[in-house]
């Protein structure tokens, strides 16, 4: 059927067939809808059965009539209901209302009625038809939601609590079943009237409630309506209820119309509080004189109790001082504040243990380190109501902790910046700690595999065996000290002075603390010094020998000459004298060379601009009187002839020695002797090549070429044996070098000199 009931009335003659009417009635019944109609002509009222039932009336006995139905309404709604109906009857106005009816059992229920007029063909109103519906559950639910919203808005946590809705002008008050449950009654047992609860409340508490109510009204809701009140439970016990409320409707004259609120059973909390107070007092008593301070935060009331000791710790002298959570927050060190507030939150919402350290500001302004522990109490519905605990003043420990921490930081810094290799090993030779210098010895990708490892496999097996032996010695004897040369994983060879000292860990396990100083450089210097010392010793020996030898010989020879002269052998004497003179001349040369060496070793000569070509020309000029000079062809080729910046005296010594050697040790058997000098630039060096076709150097002597007192040519010997040694020394001083090249006939020396920028 596509028509509404109204449409069906319009289109069809009134009084449908019996069957159709019955099915309509049935549909209404199923929908829980009642309906009514008034024949305007006769003012006769018709109710469907549902209307009777909604009113709690018996269709058999009750006869509805226009003059008696208004009484069925709630006194407050009676007028409204009558007015709407009269208007509809007089002017055909449609209406809709949601009003309260009072049933015969005294209960009040919300009903909804919607009505319209029907007209005849001439446009005259003939009847009013309305539907009638019990919407009490719907309305109560709506109210409940409203209250919850209000509760939420007014920060009243309504969950699990009872609620109430008071229509002040009507003396009607709805109490949720939870309220009666708290007091041990069934909701049905009690009327919806303030008197219902007022009969059960303790008189003193009622006065407090009324006083608060008046203040709340007079302050237009500013003064909170909130109090803890005691009720007599049905079983005779005392129940404490936290009652809170708020006026939510006012009339134009400022009179309160409607007020809602909540009931919270705090009987259990009260008991705990009492117990807590007692135990706190006992505890307070027990710890008097001890360092422990106590605190007790009533979360619901936001009061914070601090014991005298607590106050003393933070310098509060006023014994009457009352604290608040806000003050606690205020006194917290800004760095600790968010952490501590979070810890409190985590404790009261997630029940995580509250055991914290923080700084509280002392009245003098400084901060005191506090160790606090606490425990909250939750009500049956899991809501935290109190949190209490103790505090210790740990400033002294904390400060020493900080000092220790700083000392440790300093120690770490020392380890970090120390260029010595510092590491700690355990008894299994695993590295348990190491500084950056030590870890830096390992290739980057390997550095996270140092701590916790022996890293033995990264070393040469012999070297590893040696240092492990030192580890063992240190563990056994408490100390080991050794100079070791190790090839490290970063491919550097280092000579280390390594000390290993045994120590005991916290759990009595043994470790060795190792500190290795890189003495590679020191060792190198030491080696150089040793070499220099050796050279000096050799020098002293050789000098004494080479100086004494010609002296002893000459003296003996002079004795022989004297004998010969005495015997009249003048010719022999003269030839011997020549030998003595030659010998002494060489001695003089030697002494002069020795002086040169002393000068070479001890003086720092100035850098000057040197023309190499000029130096060679000067030297050749100087040697032009030497034996054999005339027999030698000199070839000079200067591919590099720019001035060099170096110590001129050194370069002169080099050139003169090499040239004079080439002249002295020429090969007289050759038809043509030559000496070739060539200069050439090689990168940032200049090479000067001296080539001759002289006697050359015997192969087995070449390695000793640049050592002291070496002469290589028997029979032709008239050098001091210091020449090439001095050449090498001079080149060292200039940053240059000399090399002997193997040539088929003769000698080739290549001198390299640095080119300054």
């Amino acid at each position: 059927m596509d028509y509404t009931y109204e449409e069906s009335l319009e289109r069809q003659p009134r009084m449908q067939t019996y069957q159709e009417l019955e099915s309509l009635k049935h549909a209404y019944k199923l929908a829980g809808l009642g309906y009514w109609s008034i024949e305007l002509e006769t003012e006769q009222l018709y109710w469907s059965d549902e209307v009777f039932y909604i009113h709690g009336l018996d269709p058999e006995t009750y006869i509805p009539a226009l003059d008696n139905t208004a009484d069925l309404y709630h006194p407050h709604d009676k007028e409204k209901a009558s007015t709407l109906l009269q208007k509809a009857m007089a002017h055909g106005e449609a209406f809709e209302y949601e009003l309260r009816i009072v049933r015969t059992d005294g209960s009040t229920r919300y009903v909804r009625s919607k009505a319209e007029c029907f007209y005849d063909d001439g446009g005259r109103a003939v009847s009013i038809f309305g539907i009638f519906q019990d919407i009490d559950d719907e309305v109560k639910e709506k109210h409940r939601v409203e209250i919850a919203e209000i509760a939420h808005k007014t920060h009243i946590d309504g969950s699990g609590d009872g609620y109430w809705d008071w229509h002040i002008q009507d003396d009607y008050e709805y109490m949720s079943p939870r309220f009666w449950e708290i007091l041990g009654y069934l909701p049905e047992e009690k009327p919806h009237s303030p008197s219902a609860w007022q009969d059960l409340i303790f008189e003193d508490d009622l006065n407090v409630a009324l006083d608060n109510f008046n203040k709340h009204i007079n302050s237009k809701g500013q003064h909170p309506y909130e109090q803890e009140v005691r009720y007599r439970h049905k079983n005779g016990s005392t129940v404490t209820v936290l009652c809170r409320g708020k006026v939510i409707e006012w009339d134009d004259n400022g009179n309160a119309l409607r007020m809602v609120g909540t009931h919270t059973d705090i009987t259990y909390l009260k008991a705990i509080e009492k117990e807590l107070r007692q135990s706190r007092e006992q505890y307070d008593l027990a710890v008097t004189g001890s360092s422990v301070g106590l605190w007790d935060w009533n979360i619901a009331q936001d009061t914070l109790y601090w014991s005298d000791r607590f106050k003393e710790i933070i310098g509060i002298r006023d014994v009457l001082h009352t604290a608040s959570f806000a003050e606690f927050e205020q006194r917290l060190h800004p760095e600790d504040r968010p952490i501590i507030l979070e810890a409190v939150e985590n404790h009261i919402t997630h029940k995580e243990p509250y055991d914290v350290e923080y700084r509280l500001q002392h009245d003098d302004g400084h901060y005191v380190w506090i160790h606090a522990r606490g425990q909250a109490i939750w009500n049956r519905r899991g809501k935290p109501t109190r949190m209490a605990g103790s505090i210790d003043d740990i400033t002294i420990q904390k400060n020493s902790e900080i000092i220790l921490e700083k000392a440790l930081d300093f120690q770490k810094l020392l380890m970090k910046v120390n260029t010595d290799l510092i590491f700690v090993k355990d008894e299994k030779h695993r590295i348990v700690e190491a500084n950056e210098s030590f870890i830096g010895l390992y290739p980057e990708e390997q550095r996270d595999k140092v701590i916790g490892y022996t890293t033995v496999e990264d070393y040469d097996p012999d070297e590893a065996e040696a240092f492990l032996a030192e580890d063992k010695k240190a563990f056994r004897e408490g100390l080991s000290e050794v100079v070791e040369t190790i090839l490290f994983p970063d491919k550097t060879q280092r000579t280390l002075l390594t000390k290993k000292i045994r120590f005991e860990g916290f759990n009595h396990e043994e470790f060795i603390f190792c500190i290795a100083r890189d003495i590679t450089q020191l060792k190198k210097i030491e080696d150089e010094l040793l070499k220099a010392n050796g050279e000096l010793e050799e020098f002293a020996y050789r000098t004494s020998h080479d100086l004494r030898s010609p002296l002893i010989s000459s003296k003996k020879l002079l004795d022989i000459i004297r004998e010969n002269i005495e015997q009249g052998d003048i010719d022999t004497s003269l030839s011997y004298l020549d030998i003595v003179i030659d010998s002494l001349r060489k001695l003089e040369e030697l002494v002069s060379d020795i002086l040169k060496i002393t000068k070479l070793n001890n003086s720092e000569l100035e850098l000057t601009s040197v023309d190499i070509k000029a130096l060679i020309d000067d030297s050749l000029q100087k040697f032009s009187h030497m034996d054999g000079y005339e027999d030698i062809h000199f070839y000079c080729q200067y591919d590099y002839d720019k001035p060099l910046i170096l110590q001129k005296e050194h370069l002169i010594l080099v050139i003169e020695n090499l040239l004079s050697n080439a002249i002295k040790y020429r090969d007289g058997s050759k038809s043509e002797s030559f000496v070739k000098v060539e200069t050439e630039r090689n990168g940032n060096q200049v090479s000067v090549k001296f080539t001759d076709n002289g006697l050359g150097i015997p192969e087995k002597s070449r390695r000793k070429l640049f050592t002291m007192f070496k002469r290589f040519h028997p029979n032709t010997a008239f050098g001091s044996g210091l020449g090439l040694y001095m050449v090498k020394k001079s080149l060292d001083k200039m940053g240059g070098d000399i090399e002997y090249n193997d040539v088929e006939q003769g000698t080739q020396f290549v001198v390299t000199l640095p080119l300054s920028d």
Binding site: S544, R548, I552, K556, L557, S583, R711, H713, N715
Partner: protein, 125 residues
Amino acid sequence: MKKISTILIVDDNKSDHIISQVAIRKYDASINVLTAYDGQEALDLLETLDTPPDVILLDINMPGMDGHEFLEEYSKEPSPISIVAMLSTSNQESDKEKCLAYSFVKQYIVKPLEEDDLGVIAALL
């Protein structure tokens, strides 16, 4: 005691050659004297001789092959039959020990060589 017939002087110094020769002449003018100016020359000379010298007077410090190197080479000979007397400028113990370690080195003489030294050497033959 055997008579010395040939002595080889190995020395780089002309003065010492003369000094040694004068001493030998004074001791026994009939002694045949051979000369070399370094170890290698001495070895080369010994190679050419049918009869080795009775005594070799060997200087330690010489350019080219020195006294020590000569002793090492000479000890490799199948039968070094000449006895060797060392001539040294200084009486240095380490040097002396090193030389006397060779069985054929019989004497260590500090220069200059004297006539009497040859009598001592002859007594060792």
